[in-house]
C-alpha cells in the first residue's frame, strides 16, 4: 500500500461531523416546513373561512369576531401539527401527538366557535323564495329576485357535467385509440393541432359561438352548452388518452386478435381495461370542469329554469350579498361539496395520471 496522499487522508473528528450534518438536516427541514406553511395558509384559510361563515354568519350582522376566533384555533393547530411531524422520534410518537393536538383543537373549536354555529343559512335548500325571507329579516322585502329551486340548478349542473363527461369519454377514447394505433395522412399534423386548440383562450370564441348556437336554435338550451363544453374539453382529453393508449403494448392486442377477438372486441375487452386510470382521470377532470363552468352558461343560458349552480350562486350573490353574506357562503359550500367528494373518491386514480404519460 502506498502512503495516503493529502487528499485521501480523512479528518478524524467523525462524531463532530455527524452531529453537524444532523443539525443541518433538522434546520433545513424546519425551514422547509415553515416556508410551506407560510405559503399554504393563505390558500387554505379562505376555504376554512367559507365553511365557518356558512355555518355561523347571521343576517344583517357584520360579525368578524367568529372568524378571528376560528383562525386563532386553526393556525396554531396547523403549526402544532408541523412541529409534531418534525420533532417526533418515531411513528408512534407522531400519531400520539397528532391525536392529542386534534383533540385539543376540536375542544377549543367547540368552546370558542361552537355557540355561534347554526344551519339557518342553508335555508335555500328548502325555501325557493329564500331571498324574500332573508330580506324580511332585515326589513327590506321589495325587489327580491325570483329564484328557481336550488335543486333545479343542481340538477342542471349535474346534467351538464355528466353528459359532457360521457360524451368526452366516449369520443376521446375512440379518437385517442385511433391516433395511437393507426397510421393515416396528416396524423402528426392532427396531433400538433390538438395542442394548439388547447392553447386557445376559449373566451375569444364567445361571440362566434353565441351566433352559431343562435342560428342552430340551441341558444338557451342545456344541450347547446354541453356541445360547446365538449368541443373545448376534447382536444386535451384526446391528447392525454393517446398517451395512455401508447403505453399499452401492441403484443396483448395482437394476442387478442389471434385468440379470436375482432378488432372491436380486442379494444373493449383487452385494451380499454388497461387505460382505466386514464379514463377515470379524464372523467373526473371533465366532470369538474363542467361543474364549475361559468362563462359559457352565463352567456348561453337565459331562462332561470336553465340556471346551473354557478349561475345560481352568481345571482344569490347579486341579490343578497349586501344583506347576508352567510347565505352566499352557504350556497358556496353546497356548490363545493360534490366536486370535493368526487376528488376524494378518485384521488387514488388521479395520482396515477403520470403512468400513462404524455407522448407525442
Amino acid at each position: 500500500m502506498a502512503a495516503l496522499t493529502e487528499l485521501q487522508r480523512l479528518p478524524g473528528d467523525w462524531d463532530g461531523l455527524a452531529a453537524r450534518a444532523r443539525s443541518l438536516r433538522r434546520a433545513k427541514a424546519a425551514a422547509l416546513y415553515a416556508f410551506l406553511i407560510a405559503v399554504s395558509l393563505p390558500i387554505i384559510l379562505p376555504y376554512f373561512w367559507l365553511v365557518t361563515i356558512a355555518f355561523s354568519a347571521k343576517t344583517g350582522v357584520a360579525d368578524t369576531m367568529v372568524l378571528w376566533r376560528s383562525t386563532a384555533v386553526f393556525v396554531p393547530t396547523v403549526i402544532a401539527f408541523w412541529l409534531a411531524a418534525i420533532l417526533a422520534q418515531n411513528r408512534r410518537q407522531m400519531w400520539l401527538a397528532i391525536t392529542a393536538i386534534g383533540l385539543i383543537a376540536t375542544a377549543a373549536f367547540a368552546l370558542l366557535i361552537g355557540p355561534d354555529l347554526h344551519p339557518r343559512n342553508f335555508i335555500f335548500l328548502v325555501e325557493p323564495d329564500f331571498a324574500s325571507v332573508v330580506r324580511s329579516r332585515s326589513g327590506v322585502v321589495r325587489g327580491a329576485v325570483q329564484f328557481p329551486s336550488v335543486w333545479k340548478a343542481f340538477g342542471n349542473s349535474l346534467l351538464i357535467a355528466g353528459a359532457q363527461t360521457v360524451i368526452v369519454l366516449t369520443v376521446a377514447s375512440l379518437a385517442a385509440y385511433y391516433l395511437s394505433r393507426f397510421q393515416f395522412p396528416a396524423r402528426a399534423a392532427m396531433l400538433r393541432s390538438l395542442l394548439v386548440l388547447h392553447a386557445f383562450p376559449v373566451l375569444t370564441l364567445i361571440v362566434p359561438m353565441f351566433l352559431m348556437l343562435y342560428w342552430m336554435g340551441l341558444l338557451d338550451t342545456l344541450f347547446g352548452v354541453i356541445l360547446v363544453l365538449v368541443a373545448f374539453e376534447l382536444p386535451f382529453a384526446v391528447f392525454i388518452m393517446k398517451g395512455f393508449f401508447d403505453a399499452v403494448p401492441w403484443d396483448i392486442e395482437m394476442s387478442a386478435l389471434t385468440d379470436g377477438a375482432s378488432r372491436r372486441q380486442a379494444f373493449l375487452r383487452v385494451v380499454l381495461p388497461q387505460v382505466r386510470n386514464g379514463l377515470l382521470a379524464i372523467a373526473v377532470f371533465t366532470f369538474i370542469r363542467g361543474w364549475e363552468e361559468y362563462i359559457f352558461v352565463f352567456t348561453f343560458l337565459i331562462r332561470n329554469t336553465n340556471w346551473t349552480m354557478s349561475l345560481y350562486m352568481y345571482y344569490v350573490r347579486d341579490d343578497v350579498m349586501g344583506v347576508d353574506y352567510g347565505v352566499v357562503s352557504a350556497v358556496g359550500v353546497f356548490y363545493l361539496v360534490p366536486s370535493l367528494v368526487l376528488y376524494l373518491a378518485a384521488q387514488r386514480y388521479l395520482m396515477q395520471m403520470s403512468i400513462g404519460g404524455v407522448k407525442g
Binding site: 395482437m254 394476442s255 386478435l257
Partner: protein, 357 residues
Amino acid sequence: MARVEFRHVAKRFGDVEAVRDMNLTIEDGEFVALLGPSGCGKSTSLFMLAGIYLPNGGKLLFDGRVVNEVEARDRNVGIVFQSYALYPHMTVRDNILFPLRFKRVPREAALRRASAAASLVQVKDLLDRRPGELSGGQQQRVALARALVKEPQLLLLDEPLSNLDATLRLTMRTEIKALQKKLGITTILVTHDQIEATTMADRIICMRAGGIEQIGAPDDLYREPQSLFIAAFIGSPPINLIRGEAGDGTLRAGPVTFPFEGGAGAVTLGLRPEHLNFADAGLNGRIAQIEPMGREILYVIETDIGYARVLEHGSAAAYAAGEPVNVHFSPVDSLVFDTATERLIAGARAHPPMISR
C-alpha cells in the same frame, strides 16, 4: 395440425423490405426454428402466419389452402409472445379461457379444457392469480397454456425464452420440446439465440436481411454452413476466420499450406475453436485471455493475424495469460469460403489430409 407453405412471400414496410421472396415448406408436425439476427425478417414472417401482417406479395398456404386474406381470428393459430402478452386485468383462468370465449365453447367444457391446458404446463395452482403476481417462468407457462387451449393447428413461438433466466431457459427448452413431440403440433420458433434453435428444432431456417440464407438440420448448419454469415452466426464460442490465398493447386493460410483444387483467389478459412490446437510450431501468438467454461477452457490468443479462439477440454488452464504459444490446425477441419462471394467452396473433410510447412 397443418402443413405450412410460403410461396414467394414478400412484406414491405414503406421502403423497407422486411421479407423478400420467401419460399419454404414446413411439414405437418414439424418443429422448425426461424433463426437470425434482429431485423432479419423472422418475426415479420411469424406475424404474417398469425394473420397480423398482410403479405405484400406471394401466397401463404395452410394445408394447401391460401390463407393470405383470412383474418387472424379465423386461422386457429396459437402464439406465445416474447413479452408473454398476458392480459393483466384477468386472472390466469380467464387468460386461458379467453380464446375459448370466441369459439362459443360451453362454460363447462371450456373450464375443463382450460384446466387440462393448465395442468399440461403445470400452472394448475395459479389459476386464481393475476399475471402481475407470477414469475417470468410462470407467465411463460400460462402464455403457453393460453396458446394451446384452443387446440391450434399451428403454434408460433416468438422468442419465448429470451426473458427467462439462464437456468429456467434450460428447463423450458426441454419442456417445450417434449410438449411439441407429445402433441405433434406444427411449431415455428422464432429466435436469435442459436442454442435455442439448435437444441429445440428439427430443422433450422436461417434468415438474413429478409431472405432465407440456409435451411438444414442443426448439425448441417454447424458443420456445413453455406456462407460465412452462417459460419459466424452459428456456434458458440464463435468460429475463427483466417484469411488465405488459393492458387496453383494449393491454399496458404497462416502457417498451413495444403493442396486445394477449388479455384484461385482470396479465400477465408473457417475453423471452429475446438479444431485449433496448441502445437510446437505454427501460428504464433500470446495468450490474451483465459475463459474457463466449466468442462472446457477457451483461450483467446492474440496473433499477427488477429485474435484466435482455442477450445480445450479440461477445467484447469494449462497456460497462463501472457504466455507465448503456437497454434496449429488441420486442413481437414477447415471450411473454405470465397472471400468475395462469402459462399462455401469446400466443406470440412473435402481436402486431402496433407499438411506441409
